[in-house]
Structure formats: C-alpha cells, structure tokens
C-alpha cells in the first residue's frame, strides 16, 4: 500500500509538473490552440463550400478527434525530447520512480490536456457551424475515445523511445510516424478510398477505428453495441498488445541509452 501511494505521488509529480509547464508556456499554448481551431475551421469549411451537411460532419469529427489523438500522442511521444531539451532528462531518469509510474503520470496529463484542448475546438466548431447533434450517440463516441486512447498511448510509448535511441533523428521519426497515422487512419475521408495496400496498413492503426466509430456514433447515432465487434474489440486487442509492448520497448531503449551514454546529451 505504501509502495502504491509512493508511486501514485510520483505519477502526480508528472501531472503537476506538466500543468505548471503549460501555465508558464501559456503563450505557446494559446498559439497552438488558436492554430488548432483555425485549422479545424478551415478544414470543415470545405464541407460548407460543397454545401454538403454530411461532409461537414465528417470533417468536423475528423478535425476534432484527430486534434485529441494528436495532442495525446504528442505529449507522450515527446516527453523524452522535451526533457532532453530542458536538460532535465538525467534528473528524472535517476529519480526513484518506476518507469510505469512515470508513463502513467504523463498519460494522465496527456488525456486531460487533450480533452481540454478538444473541448475548446469542438465547442467553437459547433457554434460556428450551428451543428445539430440531436441524433448523436455520445456514449459510442465516449467509449471509443476512452478505449482508443489506451492503444494510442501504447504507440506513443514506443514512439517516445525513438528520441532516446536517436538523439536528434528520433524527433524527426516521431513527426513522420504522426504524419503516417494521419494519412492511414482516414481522418478526413473513409479509408476505403485508399489504395488496397494502404488499407491493409490502416487496419493496424487504432485511429482508424476511433474515427470511424465516433463518426458512426455522432453522425448516424449508432449505439456502441452495434459496433462492439467491428470497432471496440480491435481497439481492446490493440490496447492489450500495445501498452505492455510500449513499456517493454521503453525499458529496452532505456537500457540501450544507459549502455551508450545517450541520456547525457541535451538538445
């Protein structure tokens, strides 16, 4: 019990620290939020230009929920780069904290920050376009976001090891990985329009199931039970595979960094 309390306190350290950092970098946070809102508006306006209500909703879900997924993914995947840049990586890595507690703290913050960010974006979009969501099944959207976040976290943990192994190129690799998730997951279109080979890849992206499922729930009002097998089960399987895999990969990468002295370098 004492051990769990100590580890929870340690996890909270990462949540509190990240909120403090967001507060101190508030100018950048506002800038990113404005960029996200403007970007989402610009994308969804394509639907209005086409005078297509369904397209508006499709783009709105894509813009909003991709915003959420990318915020969560970025915060988790960039935690190593961030600390390396600040020069605190060694301090954090030598603290008596289990890596799982560290990753848990970063994840909690990522989800809370992602939800806050996305709520603002979604609110602006709903008011701007006067969206009618009276048919929407919010439970479907909520469940998919919750379960989907877990698998995204697993991928984020694996991505976080890239800057641990490749000090400079790691960041670039994370950026490329995020771009590929955007391309393969049908953020603004159905994955059925992708070439067949790309569709095979998209089946392994949790974002594919999250975005498609959220669209079904919010636009068509499909209850969660109807898409449990097609959307929820793949996400649960991915979470079960990706999170332990992410933790294992992180551990291996840390061991490699300690062997080669790569924790030392600062950005």
């Amino acid at each position: 019990m004492a051990l769990m309390t100590r580890e929870l306190r340690a996890s909270y350290a990462f949540v509190e620290r990240n909120f403090n950092l967001s507060k101190r970098y508030w100018g950048w946070e506002v800038a990113f939020l404005v960029y996200s809102v403007a970007g989402a508006l610009a994308v969804v306006l394509i639907g209005r230009d086409q005078d297509n209500a369904r397209l508006i909703l499709t783009l709105l879900v894509g813009a909003t929920f991709w915003n959420y997924l990318s915020v969560v993914f970025s915060i988790i995947a960039e935690q190593i780069s961030w600390e390396r840049w600040e020069g605190t990586l060694e301090y954090t890595m030598m603290a008596p904290v289990r890596r799982v507690s560290q990753l848990f703290g970063s994840t909690v913050f990522a989800i809370l920050w992602g939800l806050l960010h996305t709520t603002v974006v979604l609110t602006v979009l709903i008011f701007f376009f006067g969206i009618d969501l009276s048919r929407a099944d919010f439970l479907t959207a909520g469940v998919l976001m919750l379960i989907g976040s877990l698998s995204i976290i697993g991928i984020g943990m694996m991505a976080a090891t890239l800057p641990l192994i490749w000090v400079e190129r790691g960041d670039q690799m994370v950026f490329v990985l995020q771009s590929l998730l955007l391309l393969f997951s049908g953020v603004y279109y159905s994955v059925s329009v992708l070439p067949e080979a790309m569709q095979v890849v998209s089946a392994f992206s949790p974002a594919t199931y999250i975005l498609d499922g959220v669209r079904l729930g919010l636009i068509d009002g499909v209850p969660i039970g109807q898409i449990a097998l097609s959307h929820v089960v793949p996400l649960i399987v991915m979470a079960i595979v990706f999170i332990p895999l992410g933790a294992w990969v992180f551990g291996r990468a840390e061991a490699y960094a300690k062997r080669t002295g790569k924790l030392k370098r600062v950005g």
């Binding site: 950092l21 030598m94 400079e168 300690k258 002295g261």
Partner: protein, 314 residues
C-alpha cells in the same frame, strides 16, 4: 607512484552482503535514512569498475575506456573528492553511481545495495548535483523543488516549509522562490540545484563539479554549505572537481583520476607528502598542483573530452 592508504570502515564482501536485502529506511516525511545500516557498511564501495564508450563516426569508430578498473571505498560521513581534468572520467564515474549508465565490468554498492540488482533502493539513497543546473528553467524554484519532492516521496507540506529554509540558508529569499529560474543567475541556479538535492535528504550526495562556472562569492557560499552539510547532517558526499584548492579545503580524502584510472588516493597532506619536490622541482613545500602534475603528467589546463558515438551522424 601511487599512495596506498588505509581505508576507514572498509568492509568485507560478507559484511556488505548482510545489508543487501535491506530497503532504505524512510522517515515519516519521506526521507531516506542511512541510520539502519551498520557503521561498517561503506556508503560507497566500488570494485574494479570499468566503463567503455564507442566514440567517433562510423569510419573512425573506436572504443574509449572512460572508467578503467577503479576501486575505492568511502565510509559514511566522509567527503571524498574526485580530482581530474576534463575527460578523466569523473562525470562518468558519478553517472555510473547515479544509475544513469550501465556498468560494463565491476561492482558498485551504495550502503551495501548493488546498483544493478537493487537499482530502486540505491536511487532512494542518492541524489546528484550536476555541473549544469538541470532544471525546467521556466518553472520557479518552488515548482522545481516540489517536483523533486514528489519524485522522492517527500511529504508536500514538509517540502514547502523545508525548501524555504534551505533556500534561505543559501541566500535565496522567500520572495524569489516563485519566479522563473531563468530569471536567476547561474550561481543562484546552482544553489537551487543543491537545495533540491538536499531537500530529498540523500545519504549519499553526488556533487559533480558544483562550483564550476560560479563567481567567487557564489563559489564560497556553495562550499560553505557543503561544509555545513558535512558537519551537521548524516550525509556522505562525493565531490568531483578540477579545483585543487576546493578539493583540499572540503575533502577528507581525494582520489586522482587520470584517463579513467584512479592513480592516487589519500588526504591532501598524504598526497603532498608523496611528492618529494615542490613546484618546478624547487625546495618549497609540495602543492596540490605538484601532486596533480606528478600523477597525471599534465596540468589541469590540458583538458579534453571525447563524445560518445552519435548514431544520428551515421
């Protein structure tokens, strides 16, 4: 020529093995304590420690032995100085003890805990101050210290009170602890760094060139604080420096590192006595500079440092 010294409190492998299963004692405020360990167990015991790095690009890749077969034992309560030029292996040695680098060969024990097999137990007993004050510079001292307190399991209320007291002792007033660290001078930042380490009450404090780059006044304040820790608290300190006077002033014993090897060890007086002639071969008393020249064959100004291989450049 190497000065061989009697090591106070040196324990046998059997003595140490007795403490291996022990978890560090944790006080109600969350602080670890070394009180649970027999006085015969050294605070730090290193046997034949070796660490190699691969340096250079793909075409000019070579292996450098950063720490080469180093053995030493530091009893509880001592300030042990590690003296050497840049690139001599001082920081690598500290990083190995800090669990930031993996051990290639040899053994390191902190209060009898093996740093490989009992990494978490060791981490609870140590803290480190590095040459570059590693902080979130946008955060205030209070925010940085609270982060450290939570990581080390120190009670938050205790930490809030204690950080004001420790920072005050180091000349940083309560009115400054909520301003971003980036607004503070390098000297002030280093003092906050020492306060952060001290807040977690480590029983083994690793100070890696804590006064390098500080102005003379800040340097003296930091040195005085280290002396205060030595005199008033149950802490063992390993201090790396290339400041000969600082090593002589603060350290009970000094080890000289040269090219990763421990080439001499002893008190300042013992080391100087081991060098027969004074500066420039004259008749005057030997100085630490003479000692350094005698054992390393170079001046402290002949600094060099090699970087580990960078896979990014492949």
């Amino acid at each position: 020529m190497t000065v061989t010294l009697e090591r106070q409190g040196k324990s046998t492998a059997e003595d140490i093995a007795g403490g291996q299963a022990t978890e560090p004692t944790v006080a109600p405020d969350g602080h670890a304590s070394g009180a649970a360990y027999p006085s015969t167990v050294p605070a730090l015991h290193i046997e034949h420690l070796t660490k190699r790095f691969v340096v250079g690009g793909r075409r000019k890749r070579k292996t450098v032995v950063a720490v080469n077969d180093v053995s030493l034992s530091i009893p509880r309560g001592e300030i042990y100085g590690v003296l050497g030029a840049n690139g001599s292996g001082k920081s690598t040695l500290i990083r190995l003890v800090s669990t930031l680098l993996s051990v290639d060969e040899g053994k390191v024990e902190v209060f009898g805990h093996d740093i490989v097999r009992e990494e978490m137990a060791v981490k609870r007993l140590i803290n480190r101050v590095s040459v570059d004050a590693a902080f979130f510079k946008k955060l205030s001292p209070a925010e940085n210290l609270m982060y450290a307190a939570r990581l080390y399991g120190v009670d938050a209320r205790f930490a809030r009170t204690e950080m004001v007291r420790i920072l005050g002792r180091l000349g940083i007033s309560a009115s400054r602890i909520n301003r971003p660290l980036e607004q503070m001078s390098r000297g002030m930042q280093q003092k906050v760094s020492i306060a952060r380490a001290f807040l977690t009450s480590p029983v083994l404090l690793l100070l890696d060139e804590p006064t390098t780059g500080l102005d003379p006044r800040s340097k003296l304040e930091v040195q005085a604080f280290v002396e205060e820790i030595r005199d008033q608290h149950d802490a063992t300190i390993v201090l790396t420096t290339h400041d000969l006077e600082e090593a002589e002033r603060l350290c009970s014993r000094i080890g000289l590192l040269n090219d990763g090897r421990l080439v001499a060890e002893g008190t300042g007086a013992e080391l100087k006595a081991g060098v027969p002639n004074g500066r420039d071969g004259g008749d005057g008393p030997s100085t630490m500079h003479d000692v350094f020249m005698a054992y390393t064959g170079r001046s402290l100004d002949d600094d060099h440092e090699e970087k580990p291989a960078d896979d990014d450049n492949e």
